[in-house]
Amino acid sequence: MRSSASRRKLLSSAFVVFCAAAVVVALIPLAFILFFVAARGLSGLNLQFFTRMPVPVGESGGGMANAIVGTLVLAGLAALMALPIGIASGIYMSEYARSRFAGAVRFAADTLNGVPSIVIGVFAYGVAVLPFRQFSALAGGFALGVMMIPIIARTTEELLLLVPGSMREGALALGATRARAVFTVVLPAALPGIVTGALLALARIAGETAPLLFTAFNNRFFTTKLTEPISSLPVQVFTYALSPYEDWQRQAWAGALVLVLIVLACSLAARIATRRLERMHARG
């Protein structure tokens, strides 16, 4: 009896050690990568990087201003397309959760979430580039938007489901239409989560390279028309990193660092938004 008890205790301790080791093992590459990117990228980060445009090799002082703005524009386009569709789908899936169609939508959203970004790039090329014989910011925004939709839809749905039924029922009992009940009562309650979902979806697409290669193309200059190719950080980093010139490589690392920081900022903002809005609602 005693030996089996001590064996079980040993097993348990070993397990605890394993779990702690797992955390360390996961964090080591993280530390490595961050250190690696920061070490190489910091030297390239200066005001010029953010404000100047790319210059040819041999000239100093170029920047990635057009790529940074391009990434913001693409993210904006993607959000413009994905937010209405995602939120409305989420509302449908939560309000009519038991209907067969909602099940189909849920399955479609999960499938879409699992589609590799490169396949979406091929799809967007066939749908948004070829028919118009033009690479464009719109095509890039479309590809990224398609990737954002399922994340926003599912997050919205889950959070709306978490809102206590009593709130919804109370509104309906007072004679409100379903729409009114959702928009004035349920949705505001779930808003922090929806914002989180949107920010997480943004974080997901901010670093995507593959779908943009075939849609937004790239642009050495600022883009004035959305029907023209547009630059973006991931593609520019990719182009420069695979070049033989030190100056360009340094800028690529700086660009990679900026990318990591952007994605980090989105994730952080998502957390902060969640916590502050929760606190606000707890008070109110």
Binding site: V69, F217, T224, E228, P244, L277
Partner: protein, 343 residues
């Protein structure tokens, strides 16, 4: 809270729009091109210099690869293309419009290696056999024969090639197919081929990177890349029997040989040319234009640009590691530019 978020988003959107519209010239025309990675450095220099001369013109070039340049030009998604390998008759037939080739610079593909030796000499057949997987060790008799007195280790050769389709691959396979009928039958000449052996790396820089890291490896990259990466590259025995290392002189002399027999459409291969000091793995890099484009103003601009690049622009070539075009070829091209319809 939501109100302040909304306000912040609005500010961000305005800032982005302002940045986009304010930063570009008022009515700048943008022309887009895609193609080879090899000329990317000098093209980006040229387009920047040209933009200084004509601030209302912004030419945007993206190096997706020679094949991509040809494909996107054929599909009409870009206005001009660039390739290190001329379009095949089939590709030209498949294009809906007539496409013209204009050589802009000269390049060379060199064999890079990672061995603790000072310098190596290769020959075409030896390179072909290495890339066919027939020669597998550095101590092989054939390699030793070309390098008397050099201590070659009995190391396995790790072959590196390009993962994606590229003009560099086209030039390399074009040369190897000329010097080895076995290579021609087994592999063929194209931007993307089925390699009998070896690893695929992305981009010239990718190949250089892998070779740098892997002891006993061999790869092929553009001369410019090898020089800038500081990686050792070997000499190649040319058709006259001399071991020639790629330099701007040996490359230009390869092109000068061909000027006498240049076809009118400029689609010519200059690998394995005759000539005592000609480097055997050299090639033109072409800019591709549609002969009769719907966008006549853009065509006019591109012709103006080419005229500048073929004359003024050539002086930027040597400092960037490219070989300038021989005068004889430039003369032929300036005349040929009249073929592009600008009105």
């Amino acid at each position: 809270m939501t109100e302040s978020i909304r306000r912040y988003c609005r500010w961000l959107a305005c800032a982005a729009v302002a940045a986009v519209s304010g930063a570009s010239a008022a009515a700048a025309v943008q022309i887009h091109g895609a193609g080879a990675t090899f000329p990317y450095p000098i093209y980006s220099k040229w387009f920047a210099e040209f933009n200084k001369l004509r601030s209302d013109v912004e030419i945007n070039y993206q190096s997706l690869g020679s094949g991509a340049g040809i494909r996107q030009l054929t599909k009409g998604t870009v206005f001009f293309g660039a390739s290190d390998g001329p379009m095949t008759d089939e590709q030209l037939r498949a294009a809906p419009e007539r496409i013209l080739h204009f050589p802009t610079v000269l390049g060379a593909v060199v064999p890079i290696y990672n061995l603790p030796v000072a310098s190596l000499t290769f020959s075409g057949p030896v390179l072909a056999d290495i890339y066919l997987g027939k020669i597998t060790k550095w101590s092989d008799r054939a390699i030793v024969a070309l390098n008397p007195g050099v201590e070659l280790p009995s190391l396995e050769i790790t072959v590196v090639h390009r993962a994606e389709g590229s003009g560099t691959t086209y030039i390399w396979t074009d040369y190897l197919a000329k010097v080895s009928s076995d290579f021609k039958d087994t592999v063929g000449v194209a931007q993307a081929v089925r390699w009998p052996t070896g690893l695929g790396a992305r981009g010239n820089e990718g190949v250089a990177g892998v070779v740098k890291q892997t002891r006993g490896s061999i790869g092929y990259v553009e001369m410019v890349v090898a020089i800038h990466s500081g990686i050792a590259y070997g000499a190649v025995v040319n058709s006259a029997g001399n071991a020639v290392k790629a330099t701007t002189e040996s490359v230009t002399s390869a092109a000068a040989e061909i000027a006498r027999v240049m076809p009118s459409d400029f689609r010519v291969s200059i690998t394995n040319v005759s000539g005592k000091s000609a480097y055997p793995i050299a090639s033109f890099s072409w800019l591709l234009l549609v002969e009769d484009s719907r966008n006549k103003p853009a065509a006019k601009i591109m012709v103006e640009f080419l005229k500048w690049a073929l004359t003024e622009g050539q002086k930027f070539a040597p400092s960037l590691g490219y070989a300038p075009l021989p005068d004889s070829v430039v003369r032929l091209e300036m005349a040929a530019l009249a073929r592009v319809k600008t009105s």
